[in-house]
């Protein structure tokens, strides 16, 4: 099931969650992740609640991760500097790290990539700046995502894709997302996989125990 990994409906955005769900369904999504919302289904689109932790104090972040980890919400943390990211990626209960296009270049390195893979923590690729920014800002974002794809090809950590839409006019279909992702070297298979990763975050695949 293809999922838009983060949207922001009213009052933060200009569209209600029902309208966002309806439009996302018409574009081809099976589910959307909405911070601060209640789980549900509208017009055949599943609404997945999430919590975004934007703190910079590591102890507070760890406390919030522990508080929200078994609440039925997906837990996302905004990335910070290198030490912060490594500490946060070692935490159980975290589902994804986001805003990697806003952090310093070496803040997400090969050690963070390996931690993300080992703990099955997804890395969010935010499509909003690719759509809305131009010039040097968009170039920096593309550059950052190019680096991310190099790390991903080596360490195979999970990826999720978010439109971070504030309006129905910010939503893009899965086909359009595949086209956008080709700008920074993301292959179609990787994009398809990233669009479906949220399902594995909600119900992680566990290894099968064979009784003797």
């Amino acid at each position: 099931m293809e999922t838009d990994a983060c949207i922001h409906p009213y009052p933060v955005g200009t569209a209600s969650v029902r309208r966002m769900a309806m439009e996302a369904g018409a574009l081809g999504f099976g589910s959307i992740v909405v911070p601060g919302e209640v789980a549900g289904v509208y017009h055949g689109v599943r609404i997945i609640p999430a919590v975004i932790i934007s703190e910079t104090d590591l102890r507070r972040v760890i406390g919030q991760i522990r508080r929200h980890s078994n609440s039925g919400n997906l837990v996302f943390v905004d990335a910070g500097d290198n030490g912060f990211n490594r500490a946060v990626l070692a935490q159980k209960g975290l589902n994804a790290i986001r805003c990697l296009h806003q952090i310093p270049k070496k803040a997400f390195d090969h050690i963070s990539a390996r931690l993300a893979y080992e703990n099955s923590i997804a890395v969010e690729i935010d499509l909003y700046p690719l759509i809305h920014e131009k010039g040097i800002f968009r170039q920096r974002v593309l550059n950052r995502y190019n680096d991310l794809m190099r790390l991903h090809s080596r360490y195979q950590f999970p990826l999720i894709l978010s439109s971070n839409a504030f309006s129905v006019l910010d939503l893009r279909s899965p086909d359009e997302i595949r086209l956008l992702c080709s700008l920074f070297g993301m292959e179609k298979d990787d994009t398809n996989w990233a669009l479906q990763t949220v399902s594995t975050l909600i119900s992680p695949v566990e290894s099968v125990m064979v009784a003797p």
Binding site: S16, R18, S182
Partner: protein, 155 residues
């Protein structure tokens, strides 16, 4: 020798009012140039053929359809108006796309009674069954809100 061309049919969101074709052309060209530069835009030769009834037809040189589609994905406004364009179909002939457009049912709007919400006046428009768009009345601010019929009943 005349180069082969490709035509893209785009759905405009929100479907009304239709943007001015000239303004749309400059916006598409700006998106293409911003993403790929002047040289690639010159090779691509994007052109807006027609614009109306919630759809637009754009043209480019064959081989550049994918790049034009990507540029269109990054188009967010025409002049001051927020807009989104979604590619519906691609064809080698204009006739095929025009047949496709004529086969699509036109979007029918139903204006419903003005709404007073958050101390502001909004005109409300319903279409495609459940979709309700609210446009704020005013000269300076004209906020656009996107709701559904179910949301309206809850207000």
């Amino acid at each position: 020798m005349r180069e082969k061309r490709r035509y893209l049919l785009l759905r405009i969101d929100p479907p009304t009012p239709d943007p001015d074709p000239k303004d749309l052309y400059f916006s598409v060209l700006d998106s293409v140039t911003s993403l790929y530069g002047d040289a690639e835009a010159a090779r691509m030769m994007p052109v807006v053929i027609s614009c109306g009834s919630g759809y637009a037809v754009v043209r480019c040189i064959r081989g550049y359809e994918e790049k034009l589609r990507i540029a269109i994905v990054t188009l967010t406004s025409v002049t001051e108006r927020r807009i989104a364009l979604h590619a519906v179909a691609t064809s080698g002939t204009l006739l095929a796309l025009r047949r496709r457009v004529s086969g699509l049912s036109p979007v029918r709007f139903e204006t419903i009674s003005p709404l007073h919400f958050r101390d502001r006046e909004y005109t409300a428009r319903r279409y495609q069954g459940q979709k309700v768009d609210l446009q704020e009345k005013g000269i300076n601010r004209q906020e656009l809100l996107f709701l559904t019929q179910d949301d309206l009943e809850g207000l």
